[in-house]
């Protein structure tokens, strides 16, 4: 699943570690999310969306 996490993080001037701390996940998990290797659970997707004040659909894109 594609996502906008890297772009949003950079726009907000956050490091991967800082975003991880804000979301309650590790820096490695942020890296995996950004590269699309890991699809978050629905609660984590909501946390990410709330953090950037966007909807889930604006951050995550179905590839189909």
């Amino acid at each position: 699943m594609d996502n906008e996490i890297r772009r949003l993080r950079e726009e907000h001037g956050l490091s991967q570690a800082a975003l991880g701390a804000a979301l309650g996940v590790s820096r490695q998990t942020v890296i995996s999310l950004e590269t699309g290797r890991y699809d978050p659970s629905l609660p984590l997707a909501f946390t990410i969306a709330r953090h950037f004040d966007l909807s889930i659909e604006e951050i995550f894109h179905d590839q189909h």
């Binding site: 590790s26 490695q28 995996s32 290797r37 659970s41």
Partner: protein, 143 residues
């Protein structure tokens, strides 16, 4: 209570629980093996178990004191893992569980066929440990 105090309290609890659990396991295991197992099995269990316990304590300390340097197993052992860490642990342990069933069946057959039981069970233990490391690394790379 500040967040630093809470972090310290969690670290102390985690370390105390680990030391108590591993200490009890080592003592009971050593007592049983010393009485019933052949040759130096009890001593080997105590040394191997002691090394494993020390590694677990190191992992917990790293996860708490140097989170940026901590890896997925450190966080899982320290109960600080996130959902990705839990997924990796679940996949790796599932692979080891399945392999343990197959290897135990094979080991039973080998012992029944007359192969040295101590050698077979030792080989099985090391194979499963190696498989755990490989499965964990593969799951980390996949997720």
């Amino acid at each position: 209570m500040t967040s630093t105090d809470r972090r310290r309290a969690r670290l102390a609890t985690s370390l105390a629980a680990t030391v108590a659990a591993t200490g009890a396991t080592l003592v009971v295991g050593w007592a049983l093996l010393d009485r019933y197992a052949p040759t130096d099995t009890a001593r080997g269990f105590l040394i191997g178990g002691g090394i494993a316990a020390a590694l677990v304590v190191l992992a917990i300390l790293r996860a708490h004191l140097r989170p940026s340097a901590a890896a997925s197993p450190d966080r899982v052992l320290a109960h600080l893992g996130d959902e990705r860490d839990a997924l990796i642990a679940r996949e790796a342990l599932a692979a080891v569980g399945l392999a343990a069933l197959l290897l135990s069946g094979l080991a039973t057959g080998l012992v029944a066929a007359g192969v040295d039981a101590l050698g077979v069970t030792t080989a099985e233990t090391y194979l499963l440990l190696a498989l755990l490391v490989i499965a964990w690394r593969r799951a980390s790379a996949r997720h």
